[in-house]
């Protein structure tokens, strides 16, 4: 579904990703783990077109997307939940959802489907996004991305700083989407949260993928976690 081959990318003169190669299939959840600064968020920004890959290719269903203008990437079915949520804080919940629906011609059916996943947002439609609680903000960030009816969903540390009940809700949402065939790249720092949803785990070190493991049969005391994530 989505492939990154030999990607180099960074910020101006600062090179961050070095020959990164990764792929995720339809209906698969790939968890990306790695220490702070490993380049996980940078990789997602390269996929969504916020930064340009200096070398390598990114393909979606066989089509090159790395050369596209940034605003055209999401139109091909990539939903993005940025680290720190990056909601439009001064806009209402309803308006944030509407922005998500822009690429879907504001389809009411999509909107209803997404709100059914997060009924709490329905009670907050007229409220400014920045006045929501942390958990509600994350629901909105995910809902906004789901409004694109993505084939590929990019989630950057969605559980960061949230209560256990929210973490469960996010896990259930990811599993629902997986059942619908969505390909998910989930950046996740918590070993237990990662193991509860992942099909595969990719460990990033210094801007490249150091190791990829199947999640089946893996336990939290597997040496890979200590090596690449450990405290």
């Amino acid at each position: 579904m989505l492939r990154l081959d030999d990607i180099d990318a960074g910020y101006g003169a600062v090179a961050v990703l070095h020959g990164l190669t990764l792929s995720v299939a339809s209906g698969e959840v790939l968890c990306v783990m790695g220490r702070n600064g490993a380049g996980k968020s940078t990789m997602l920004k390269a996929i969504i077109g916020q930064i340009r890959a200096g070398a390598g290719t990114i393909t979606l269903d066989g089509m090159r997307i790395d050369g596209l203008p940034a605003h055209q990437v999401p139109r091909h079915g990539i939903g993005y939940v940025p680290q720190g949520r990056r909601l439009f804080g001064g806009l209402t919940v309803a308006e944030n959802i509407e922005i998500g629906l822009m690429t879907r011609r504001r389809d009411v059916r999509v909107r209803e489907k997404v709100l059914a996943l997060f009924p709490r947002l329905r009670e907050r439609m007229g409220q400014m996004a920045r006045t929501l609680s942390g958990g509600e903000q994350q629901m909105l960030a995910i809902a906004r991305a789901l409004c694109l009816e993505p084939k590929v969903l990019l989630l950057d540390e969605p559980t960061e700083g949230l209560q256990p009940s929210m973490i469960t809700l996010i896990r259930d949402t990811v599993l629902t989407l997986k059942a619908e065939g969505v390909a998910t790249i989930l950046v996740e720092q918590r070993v237990d949260a990662a193991l509860s949803v992942a099909d595969r785990l990719a460990f990033m070190v210094g801007g490249r993928v150091a190791e990829v493991l199947d999640a089946g049969g893996l336990t939290p005391d597997a040496p890979a976690f200590a090596r690449h994530v450990g405290v």
Partner: protein, 293 residues
């Protein structure tokens, strides 16, 4: 004339100034609020609106009201188109770096003024008002056209507010203002939003100029005062806050009318400058602006 009617006259004059100023300054404020561009060429767009209105009035046969109505539609469109081209050809290539765009818009100001000088000449030229109806009050008569300017400005500002708050284009603008990278990640063509906002800002200055030109004549250097006053209004009201811009324009316009009438225009300018200094010292984000995060 007694004090009461005299004050009324001063306030009415002030209201006309305030209306035109609110239009001009809201364009500056919009461009800064959404694009973070300090547009030094804003006054030149204003001037261009007035100069083009003269050309329209000159070339279009028929009654002055018709030519004026044509100018009111045509000038903002042309000035907006020029602004959009300037945005795409210059500002976008500078990646909207704050310092670079200030220098670039100074250059644009110079180019537009020189172009107006070559095509329009150094003289001030009048444009006939669309109608010459006078409102007869018990104490004095007052230009019906000036009152129409106030109403027209209020309608345009209402339109701007409706566009920003209740239209799809306005939603795209506000989302882009909040976070342009994330806006792109949701399919918003930020380049097009920026070109549109820059055009709209310039178009507002042009509308203000077309409205004022039957009162004050067109001249290639007429953009200086509106630019300065717009900056004053926008600093007092808070850059990027439309409501602040309106309140500050009323404040500056009305006090300008009263002080100019009872004392001297120079005193009005001195006081406006003092207020700006006070705001900058005690409330740098402006009366209605948000503190920088």
């Amino acid at each position: 004339m007694d004090f009461g009617p005299f004050l009324l006259l001063a306030l009415m004059e002030g209201l006309v100034t305030a209306a035109v100023l609110a239009l001009t300054a809201s364009g500056l404020s919009l461009v800064f609020g959404i694009m973070r561009v300090v547009n030094v060429a804003h006054g030149a767009f204003f001037m261009l609106g007035a100069v083009l209105a003269w050309f329209v009035a000159e070339w279009l046969p028929g009654p002055p009201a018709l030519a004026f109505a044509a100018a009111l539609v045509f000038c903002p469109l042309v000035v907006g188109a020029i602004a959009a081209i300037a945005d795409m050809a210059v500002l976008k290539r500078l990646n909207y770096e704050p310092e670079a765009t200030i220098v670039a818009t100074i250059g644009l100001l110079y180019i537009l003024e020189q172009a107006a000088l070559s095509l329009f000449g150094p003289d001030a030229r009048p444009v006939e008002a669309p109608f010459s109806f006078r409102l007869q009050l018990p104490w004095f008569g007052y230009s019906g056209y000036k009152l129409a300017v106030v109403v027209a400005a209020a309608l345009v500002l209402l339109g701007v507010w409706l566009i920003l708050k209740h239209s799809r284009a306005g939603l795209l603008m506000r989302a882009t203002q909040e976070d342009r990278d994330t806006a792109r990640a949701f399919g918003i063509n930020v380049d097009r939003v920026y070109a549109g906002v820059f055009a709209m800002g310039a178009g507002l200055a042009a509308i203000a100029a077309v409205l004022i030109v039957p009162i004050s004549q067109a001249h290639y250097l007429m953009g200086g005062d509106p630019l300065l006053l717009s900056f004053i209004v926008v600093i007092i009201g808070g850059l990027g806050s439309l409501r602040g811009t309106l309140v500050a324009a009323l404040l500056i316009g009305l006090s300008d009318g009263v002080i100019s009438t009872f004392f001297a225009p120079t005193l009005a300018k001195i006081i406006a400058t003092l207020v700006v200094a006070l705001v900058l010292v005690f409330r740098p984000q402006g009366l209605f602006g948000k503190r920088a995060a």
